[in-house]
Amino acid sequence: MKILQYILLRVSGVLLTTLVGAAVVFFAMQAMPGDPALSALGEHASPEAIARFRAEHHLDAPLAQQFLHWLWGIMSADLGQSMTLASDVPISHLLVARIPNTVFIGIYAILLALMLAMTMGTIAAIKHGKAPDTIATSFAVLGVSMPDFWLGFVLILVFALTLGLFPAYGFESPLVSFAGALHSGFLPALAVAAPMAAVFARTLRSALLENMRKDYVTVARSFGFSRSFVFWNYIFRNSIIAFVVIVGLQVRYLLGGVVVIERVFGIPGIGSLMVDAAFARDYAVVQACAIVFLVTVLVVNLVVDIVCALLDPKRTR
């Protein structure tokens, strides 16, 4: 019962944050200098054309009314039309075409990061203080020191241009060919995953080391359980919660990395859409992308919190 209450509380919190976040994004965009009608139609547009454009996009209404109109649009999946990037195409169409690619790369990257981190973190903890630990820990620090887009280019240079194992540019949509997406998405996902894997591995290592020193380990060993049994069934299990929490926190950085990596590998996703829109000064699209990112972070953190609450009911108190 308590868990249900907790979930309801968190869901309403997410809704409220989304609402306030949407307001901040909207009004920040309005505070910007320049007339969107002029930037869409060009400096030499006729006054009639500008008036028509302003009426079409509801630019003459009071700000509060514009905001409510826009908010209502979001609720009914109508985000308005792209102004300059793709003339008069509904923004929702642009998003729907690109969201699957970004989601695919994001999940792919998290899975790769988890696999890398589980291996490195566990080895480092078991061989604590020995050479494998030093190597794994050094890699972990190196992971957060490299610009992700640079790592992307190094991967292209080694695995695409020199070894020819993966394509250097372009991405096959998972909706067209899942195997093709796995293949063409491997390098970009790895570039996004590396800094995350570094952070995950460090968290897992220190959580494992902390739990190894606990009294229950000595007790379990004195019962005659084998070392590996105790490790996997007691220590590893108890270390997983810290791990799940950090995955939630890292989503902020993951999505940031995806924005740059999508440009490097030419993946048509939300990140590259936002950058293209920023160049085209298509503010409605930038606005929409910012909201998509905001909602993604909030929803992932909500899921993580709920998983944590289920793993460790003490957290709901």
Binding site: A28, V141, L157, Y253, Y283
Partner: protein
Amino acid sequence: MRRIWQSIRSNSMAMAGLIITSLFLLSIVLGPILIPHSLTATAYDRILEAPSLAHPFGTDSYGRDVLVRVLYGARISLGISITGVTLAAVLGTLIGMAAGYIGRFYDSAPMRVMDLLFAFPAFVLALFLMVILGFGVANVALAIALVYVPIFARLARNMTVTIKSEPYVQAARLQGQSTIRLLCRELLPNISAPLLVQAGVGIAFGVIIESGLSFLGLGVQPPTPSLGVIMADGQEYFRRAPWVLTLTGLFVSAGLLGINLLGDGFRDLADPRLRKRTS
């Protein structure tokens, strides 16, 4: 001071960090003075040359020496990052300490705003600000500050809440010290170590944000040679001359590795749980 030095000496990773960071800083301070090549002079007979003794990082599409540009660019990128993180540290600490010390409404209202900033992906927040403010050096620093304000505010708030009920703070309050004096003299010195460590690590990540934004063309604009601008340049002729982008990135990664290793060392030092364990 002696304790800091001893703990760095006993921790080989932190020592490595100290050495790498010193070399990194030394090279960007002295490098542009010692290297005989000009930052801007073009030489069209030496376009995209591979690395050699005369040009260790090769030359770019204008025949300019890449190493000199990278060393100079590191100054600019580091300067931007330090400005942004300092701004965030001052602002975030002020907000966090006020929120933690006064409490109630002054705690919940600003911290909810910080939570909201925290809900945007770091890079997306920076990108969004660049769209609103326009591109350029000063705005990149502001974007980095915006990314880091909530982090410092949270850290400062949580530590202030823990410390403010300690006996020595209560004693200072009973002595009749003013709130400002109390915050500056009693609280700030006791929460400053973790904040400084965060600032160090923040400067490293700030350089990554700057180079990412400028790489996309949304940050520092050419001809100002920031690290991101140089790498964006290198991307254009990546297949013909991969060394420009590769070596620049390698230099950045090495420098940031040093800063991060050093930051880790200081974090161990600032964490009383770990300190007790070693002694």
